[in-house]
């Protein structure tokens, strides 16, 4: 092969195939450049940065929407997945779903920051550059097809996050939180890159689509268990990679950064991190798990791996819920709530792995789809309900200058719209019908229950899930009790947020979505069908 031919092919592949599929990310990158450029030209005095940001995010959303439609309409030409950039990224409905999801979330976050005024006018381009950069990283995480891209994605999402946590420059707590986040993140990244190098070394490739094949090759001839040194090394490597992802997902015992970082960061940033980075990390986790499983002779190992994830899920959910009990800072409380929800969502991945490697994967095909579908549905609902909760915190903070739970006492008398929105979000977070959270939880628990037929331990996981739902009631309801029943203390700062205000309609719109995702069958089935399509696109390979 002639080198110039190689270059030509590469250019052709890049320009005609890869770049169109990369259009959403390109939109975001372009927006960053545009924002920084406009500030250089002092145009930002007339055009606020969030306006450009909204346009960019909208363009990205539009692009990914188009891509999803294209993928759904195109006949399955081949069973080979569509890969771009010489196999570094994979394009399927799953990754496009996440891309659209992240773009939408970005849009909503920009809207929130525009409403709350963080960042101020001067810092706008900086902040949004970080926000967009992190989002691009997460999009790459969702479509990574190579261990290298996995690491790059995680780091690309993490590094701007560190800066965003410390964005409240004047506040000591903010800087401290950023420092902790950075150091902790660096440690986790170190562990992960070690794991990646081990895995690539043992299996001789970084291409994730080849992993299961290589793993079964390595296991062949041996016991297929840890007694085999190659398998042992691979298992160790996978575990180390998992540590890196666990850091992003704030799974116990790698969650320590989370409450501190959330408390120090502004509520808007906390809301962004809690949803977006979790979504990216889950996409990556699902990809990795599916890439590793399915090989011949490694079922036992992967089954144990799935159960291990189940254990982590139980521990995480329980820990998050219990630790949230006597938190006095609402953001910190929500941070623990985030940890707990990561636990619930991890149950879906665990159930998927267990069913996938039970040896009867064909029997469980609908339930495997359902577990992924449940995860995607959960993330979609979680987007609205968690962002809604953080938005309420952020909007109230603008009046009270406090995020302590006490400052929310008796808020119903002054800002009913915030309280109503918070109520809907909290009930959905608990998982009460008819709100969206209920159906999301229902799907995950149903999949886990079905997985119980593959391995008894999944029943324990479901039981833990149920128990945790009850446990979570205590602290969630405490928020509502504080807002609705406690009297407003004398001398508390007044929160004057009328019902018909931009802020009020924003939170109401979010909570309305939470409600609609629960009660409107058309939306519910629409989303769940989309999620199922996305789930099938990844599982059937």
């Amino acid at each position: 092969m002639v080198f110039s031919k190689l270059i030509d092919d590469l250019i052709l592949e890049t320009t005609s195939l890869s770049l169109p599929w990369f259009s959403a990310e390109l939109c975001l990158s372009g927006t960053i450049v545009l924002m920084l450029l406009l500030r250089l030209l002092s145009v930002d005095r007339w055009v606020p940065a969030y306006l450009i940001g909204v346009l960019g995010a909208f363009a990205a959303l539009f692009c990914s929407w188009q891509q999803f439609a294209e993928l759904s309409q195109a006949p399955p030409a081949s069973t080979e997945p569509l890969v771009t950039f010489t196999g570094l990224l994979v394009q399927d409905q799953f990754s496009v779903y996440f891309r659209a999801f992240l773009a939408l979330f970005l849009l909503l976050t920009i809207a929130l920051t525009a409403l709350t005024g963080i960042p101020d006018h001067e810092d706008g381009p900086d902040f949004y550059s970080l926000l967009f950069g992190a989002t691009i990283g997460m999009m790459i995480m969702a479509s990574a097809n190579n261990l290298l891209m996995l690491f790059i994605g995680v780091e690309m999402a993490s590094v701007p996050s560190y800066a965003m946590v410390g964005f409240l420059k004047g506040r000591k707590a903010s800087s401290e939180a950023a420092l902790k986040y950075v150091v902790y993140g660096a440690g986790a990244a170190g562990v992960m890159i070690y794991g990646i190098s081990l895995l690539a070394g043992v299996l001789g490739t970084g291409d994730m689509s080849l992993l299961s094949e290589r793993l079964s090759l390595a296991a062949a001839g041996g016991s297929g268990g840890l007694a085999d040194p190659e398998v042992r090394t691979a298992a160790l490597a996978v575990m180390l990679i998992m540590v890196g992802l666990a850091f992003k997902l704030s799974l116990v015992p790698f969650h320590f950064w989370c409450p501190d970082a959330f408390e120090g960061a502004s509520a808007e940033v906390a809301g962004f991190l809690s949803v977006a980075s979790k979504a990216g990390a889950f996409a990556l986790l699902v990809r990795l798990c599916l890439a590793l499983s399915g090989g011949v002779g490694t079922e036992g190992l992967m089954l144990a791996f799935g159960i291990a994830l189940g254990v982590v899920a139980c521990v995480t959910a329980t820990f998050g819920n219990l630790a949230a009990y006597n938190q006095s800072n609402l953001k910190r409380l929500l941070a623990y709530s985030t940890i707990a929800h990561a636990g619930y969502m991890l149950m879906a991945v665990s159930a998927m792995l267990v069913m996938q490697n039970s040896g009867r994967a064909a029997d469980f095909a609908p339930e495997i789809d359902m577990s992924i579908e449940g995860l995607l549905y959960y993330l979609a609902v979680y987007l609205f309900m968690n962002l809604g909760a953080f938005a309420v915190v952020a909007l109230a903070r603008n009046y009270t200058f406090s995020e302590e739970l006490d400052s929310f006492k008796g808020l119903i008398g002054q800002a009913p719209v915030l309280c109503i929105a918070m109520m809907i979000c909290v009930f959905s977070l608990v998982g009460l019908p008819p709100f969206g959270g209920f159906f999301a939880k229902f799907m995950i628990f149903a999949a886990a229950l079905k997985a119980g037929q593959a391995h008894w331990f999944m029943y324990v996981v479901v039981a833990f899930g149920g128990l945790n739902t009850v446990l979570s009631l205590f602290y969630y309801i405490r928020i509502l009790k504080t807002m609705f029943l406690d009297p407003r203390p004398e001398g508390a700062r007044k929160v004057s947020l009328p019902l018909f205000s931009l802020e009020g309609s924003y939170v109401l719109a979010l909570s309305l979505f939470v409600l609609m995702l629960g009660i409107l069958p058309s939306i519910t089935t629409g989303l769940s069908n989309t999620a199922r399509t996305a789930a099938q696109s990844i599982v059937q390979k």
Binding site: Y184, G187, L240, P253, F305, A308, A323, Y325, N326, F474
Partner: protein, 788 residues
């Protein structure tokens, strides 16, 4: 077309007062208390109603060429009744070709609005328009208009923010102070007019019942208008409760009717094609030319017929019949309602008490219209009444007219005299209807309405002029002070007394009372056993003249008995005297021509078919002979002479006793003290009912209360105590055991949560340590648990 126009005109007349009521009650509540707007709205509504009714009457007459007014004399029984089976179908105007032999159509019926269909029962608002309906409409709206105008003057004291009611006292002895209720009075009047006109227009017996109750509630509201007065609220309750007794019978009648006939409609109902689907109640009872009811040959029960008069069959092929006894029950039931509404014996005692209401109310509701509704219904429902029922009606009327007239002799309250007179005259009407004088009874209804409302308004004028003095013993010589009132009152008195110079001039009461007495005479001639039905009204005619002239002499002639009252007395303003003059003209001349005159002919234009010929005893089930027109005509002059003699006698005696000083009244009273106190106490009816019903009711009530208190309550209290004891144990169990466990659990979880905080030290160095520890731990676990 005519039917539709008539219906629309009458509907306007009927519904306008309802609109007026709505405007007045709300507008008045939010408006100024001193505004007369409500009154003028009410007058406008009812006045427009009168115009509509009058034009409807004219239109109706024009449409049939005024054939009904062409007097057939008496005895030509066949030409007067023009309608056999009412040919007018529900909604269409198609002339019934089979009926062309008769003169033009005069009866219109159909459905206004269907309320709902329950099984086979079709509840709807219907209309039934014939000459009686139109006459009643015109009479009611005309009198109501006059009374509305009069009331503007009479109720003017209510036009204030603070009205002092001198007849109502608080517990501390002070008078009641309250805002004026001028608007409310007129709102109630409007509601009453709506209800009354609805009753007259009603095309089915159930609809009659609805409006029957509506006028009842209006009567209740108006009697209790001065609700702060104990006597007024008691009277309102009494009127309402006694009417319910009668309505109970009414309901039973309705049940019988619906069970056997399956319909409430008077007239026929037709579908869209003009085919008659339901002959209506009047078409379901068929009488042959001799007045005999068509019976089923097998069972002997009364046959229910179809439109064309042939026996109807039900779904199973059985011919539909109703036992004769149940037909009697149905008739008596409906009549029971009429007894209550028209204050007939034995339910007459509420009407005198109802005089607690303002005088215009007494004039409109309790003399001219509402109480006449009972008579009207008897007339309307006439085809359904069999001989036994008619006899009952006659006797009830007979007893009533005598009893009430005797009480009126001794009453001294000017309104009470008129109230008893009203009862007595209603008795006359019932008697007339009962002895087969259908036209006579209703004739008297119309004439009575005019002269009695006139006299009530006159008494109202007197009361207003004398500053709410109602006792005749404090009046006298008012002739000079209030000439118009005295004159118009005299017109009314002459009319009701039945005085006349035969052949020269006769006021309305003479003609109508003549007709009733003549019917009664013909009846007692045909049935000698029932001679009392003639003797009593004859005597009472004398008594009537006596007490009415007594009233007039007492009030307007002689020397003033109370100078204080006399000195402050004054004639009423024009707004009150003009209605008096208008009504006096009608009271005098409305019945001009007597039974050959236009009013009588108009009323009897749509007379039930079997009335004219009478029913001979041989064909009658009960052996009664019911006189036809010719029989009545034969005795008319004789009856008229006797009645006039009685009236003149009564007048003379009244003049001797009250117009002159020849007789010492106190002496007479002393001599007849036993009779006087008997009459003064109204034949002890109130005491009798008190002993018969109230006392037993109280005893039963007390017994029930005792059972309730000492038996059921004890059981309940015991149960409650047991519950409390159980609950105490339950609480102990709950608090100590269940709560203790829950609290323990929550404390445990809380402390676990608390201890988890300890791990989160916030020290960065430690966090990084935890990564290492975590990785190592996981590694250890991995090697310990994963398959080898």
């Amino acid at each position: 077309m005519v039917g539709e126009t008539l219906r629309n005109l009458l509907m306007v007349a009927w519904l306008l007062p309802l609109a007026g009521f709505a405007i007045e009650i709300f507008g008045g509540f939010w408006g100024k208390r001193t505004s007369k707007t409500a009154a003028w709205i009410a007058v406008a509504c009812i006045g427009t109603g009168f115009l509509c009714s009058a034009s409807a009457l004219v239109l109706w007459g024009n449409s049939n060429g005024w054939t009904v007014l062409e007097s057939d004399g008496h005895g030509h029984a066949d030409a007067a009744h023009t309608e056999a089976a009412h040919p007018e179908p529900g909604h269409s105007e198609a002339a019934d070709s089979a009926d062309t032999a008769h003169s033009k159509q005069t009866v219109y019926s159909g459905t206004l609005y269907s309320l709902g269909k329950f099984g086979s029962l079709n509840v709807s608002l219907d209309y039934y328009i014939d000459s009686l309906t139109l006459t009643m409409f015109t009479m009611v709206t005309l009198i109501a208009t006059c009374i509305h105008l009069f009331a503007i003057g009479y109720m003017s004291e209510e036009l204030t923010e603070e009205y002092v009611d001198h007849h109502a006292h608080l517990s501390n002895g002070h008078h009641v102070h309250r805002p004026g209720r001028f608007y409310r009075f007129f709102a109630f009047l409007s509601l009453f007019c709506f209800s009354m006109l609805g009753l007259v227009l009603a095309g089915n017996i159930f609809q009659v019942f609805i409006f029957w109750e509506l006028v009842g509630i209006c009567s209740f509201l108006l009697i209790g208008f001065y609700t702060e007065r104990k006597s007024a609220s008691n009277a309102a309750n009494k009127a309402f409760i006694m009417n319910r007794v009668g309505d109970f019978g009414f309901l039973i009648g309705l049940m019988v009717i619906w069970t056997y006939f399956g319909t409430f409609q008077f007239g026929p109902t037709s579908n869209a094609d003009g085919v008659i689907t339901d002959p209506g109640l009047f078409g379901m009872i068929h009488r042959d030319a001799a007045g005999t009811l068509l019976t089923d040959p097998v069972t002997g029960d009364v046959a229910i017929t179809t439109v064309d008069g042939t026996p109807a069959v039900d779904g199973a092929g059985q011919s539909r019949t109703i036992p004769y006894s149940l037909l009697v029950v149905a008739g008596l039931g409906v009549f029971a309602g009429c007894i209550g509404k028209s204050a007939q014996f034995p339910l007459q005692t509420w009407l005198p008490d109802a005089m607690e209401g303002p005088t215009p109310v007494s004039a409109l509701v309790h003399s001219a219209t509402m109480v006449a509704a009972g008579v009207y219904l008897v007339g309307r429902f006439y085809p359904m009444f069999v001989q036994e029922v008619l006899l009952t009606i006659a006797y009830v009327g007979c007893i009533t007219l005598f009893v009430a007239a005797t009480i009126a002799i001794v009453a001294t309250d000017i309104k009470k005299v008129l109230a008893y007179s009203t009862i007595s005259q209603l008795g006359y009407m019932m008697l007339g209807l009962g002895v087969f004088g259908w036209g006579a009874g209703l004739f008297h209804l119309i004439t009575h309405a005019f002269f009695k409302s006139l006299m009530f308004l006159c008494s109202g004028s007197v009361i207003y002029g004398c500053h709410h003095e109602q006792e005749m013993t404090k009046m006298g010589g008012l002739w000079k002070k209030m000439p118009i009132t005295a004159f118009t009152m005299l017109v009314g008195v002459i009319a009701i007394a039945g005085l006349a110079i035969p052949g020269v001039i006769a006021f309305s009461g003479f003609h109508s009372k003549d007709a009733v007495v003549a019917s009664a005479l013909a009846f007692s001639d045909a049935n000698p056993g029932h001679f009392l039905l003639f003797i009593m009204p004859l005597i009472t005619a004398g008594i009537t003249a006596f007490y009415m002239f007594r009233l007039w002499f007492f009030t307007f002639l002689g020397k003033p008995r109370d100078m204080h009252v006399y000195d402050h007395c004054h004639e009423s303003p024009w707004i009150m005297t003009v209605p008096l003059l208008v009504l006096s003209v009608f009271a005098a001349f409305c019945a001009v021509g007597g039974e050959d005159g236009p009013l009588y002919q108009l009323i009897t234009g749509d007379e039930p078919t079997h009335v004219a010929a009478g029913i001979a005893s041989t064909q009658s089930v009960s052996g009664l002979t019911l006189p036809g027109h010719s029989a009545i005509h034969d005795v008319h002059s004789k009856a008229g002479a006797l009645a006039l003699f009685a009236a003149v006698s009564g007048t003379v005696i009244a003049y001797v006793l009250y117009g002159t000083t020849l007789v010492n009244l106190a002496e007479v009273k002393r001599h007849l003290s036993g009779l006087h106190s008997f009459l003064w106490n109204k034949w002890h009816f109130d005491e009798l009912y008190d002993a018969l019903f109230m006392k037993p009711a109280h005893i039963v009530g007390k017994f029930c209360a005792w059972v309730d208190k000492s038996l059921f309550d004890e059981i309940l209290h015991g149960a409650a105590r047991t519950c409390v004891i159980v609950a105490k144990w339950d609480r102990l169990f709950d608090e100590k055991l269940v709560d203790g466990f829950v609290n323990l659990l929550s404390r445990a979880t809380w402390s676990v949560g608390d201890s988890l905080k300890v791990v989160q030290t916030g020290k960065l160095r430690q966090y990084v340590m935890f990564i290492v520890v975590g990785v190592v731990t996981l590694f250890a676990v991995l090697f310990a648990t994963f398959p080898r």
